[in-house]
Assembly symmetry: none
Homo-oligomer: 224 residues x 2
Amino acid sequence: MKYSSSKENYIKAIFHLQQEENVVSTNGLARALSTKPASVTDMLKKLKTQKLLQYQPYKGVKLSAEGKKLALQIIRKHRLWEYFLVEKLGFGWEEVHEIAEELEHISSKKLIERLDIFLGLPKTDPHGDPIPDGQGRMPLIEQTSLLELPHNIPAKIVSVSNQSTSMLELLRHNKIGIGTKLSIIRRFEFDHSLEISITGQPFITISEQLAANLYVSYDATGKP
Amino acid sequence: MKYSSSKENYIKAIFHLQQEENVVSTNGLARALSTKPASVTDMLKKLKTQKLLQYQPYKGVKLSAEGKKLALQIIRKHRLWEYFLVEKLGFGWEEVHEIAEELEHISSKKLIERLDIFLGLPKTDPHGDPIPDGQGRMPLIEQTSLLELPHNIPAKIVSVSNQSTSMLELLRHNKIGIGTKLSIIRRFEFDHSLEISITGQPFITISEQLAANLYVSYDATGKP
DNA sequence: TATTTTTTTTAGATTTGTCTAAATAAATAT
DNA sequence: ATATTTATTTAGACAAATCTAAAAAAAATA
Ligand SMILES: [Mn+2]
Ligand SMILES: [Mn+2]
Ligand SMILES: [Mn+2]
Ligand SMILES: [Mn+2]
């Protein structure tokens, strides 16, 4: 079955919102898609007849098994294209989301399988997010919030949960990216900001808000 | 300015049809786009208000300077993606047109410039067609006699030197014309006849005399 | 030239995806 | 429990791109 870009965007947005709250609201979806609640209701009815989701008026929406499968295919395409753009074409990791938003709707199945091989079967995209395999299986990546990282323990950034342009701009300014190695020097009581040390650079201080969106992996016994 | 995929397909089709006959007919366009003449008339009116073409009812259509520029941008994208698919992802040259038909509508200008550089600024696509540069200039492709075409190199008939009735009759019988895409499978020593493969048709054998009158273009840029 | 055929346009519908404004249901507060 | 606020759906409209059937113009033929 082939679906319009618009429908695919809905399915993907529902999938992501479902990670937070088990059932997705009309307003939440409208916000995520920058559209109006009335439009969402219209579309949900169409997607329901196509059996991509379960929907009862006023009761919210949940993806069906088929809907989840479709969502994972789109996410796979999105993340593989992002990887291509950064690793092969030299884009910055903050520029690629918008372009991948279009590329993810290219329909050829064979294209994406060959792209995957060409890229060397990457496990994560440039933002550290896992790339589902051809069967829609997501590799598990253990990660903890930077807020929970103990002091003076070397750690490595593995993902960034907020991928807004403004956030990515701030990260770039602070020279923080996926794979950046750092440790926490101290925490300030007043505003909970963190002084951190990035390998080979002077100490900087980042806000609690920023730290909350950074996820790291580390070795509890001392090595990242 | 950004245009829908549908509009871009119209502009591209008009551009190609214009190569043959200076003014393009509603029916011809409908045939090329696998749509109905009534739909073409509707669209031509819209494209006219956008100043992409000159159109007077019953008088056919011609691209404006702006329309031509747009067409060349789309053709550039189409051919660069085809090159990518064949050279980087290992697709066969007969599989890529359909996929490029979608990829050509991805809007990022920066993407296509970086792709061009990544591919090594290729001059022709896998079918031997020239790739317009960023300013919409088409590189001149040297044309050679079919006799001089190396084996297994995709090429396109660009001219026919003998235009006698008998010659054209033979060409029609063999379904060969301007624009026909082919490659040489083998050359027979005995009479120097050529076995050739025409896209989408069974192999045929043609005489040396016929081949001597067919001129082709192909990508001569150093590839094996 | 008159007639017939072909080409093109117009009229009126349809589908998809969106919107605003109004109605209704659900949740919250008094 | 009633009133108010918030969330959601419905009603009706619109733009884009398409279609079929009918009308009109242009071209070809007799
Ligand atoms: Mn998208
Ligand atoms: Mn990403
Ligand atoms: Mn296309
Ligand atoms: Mn081509």
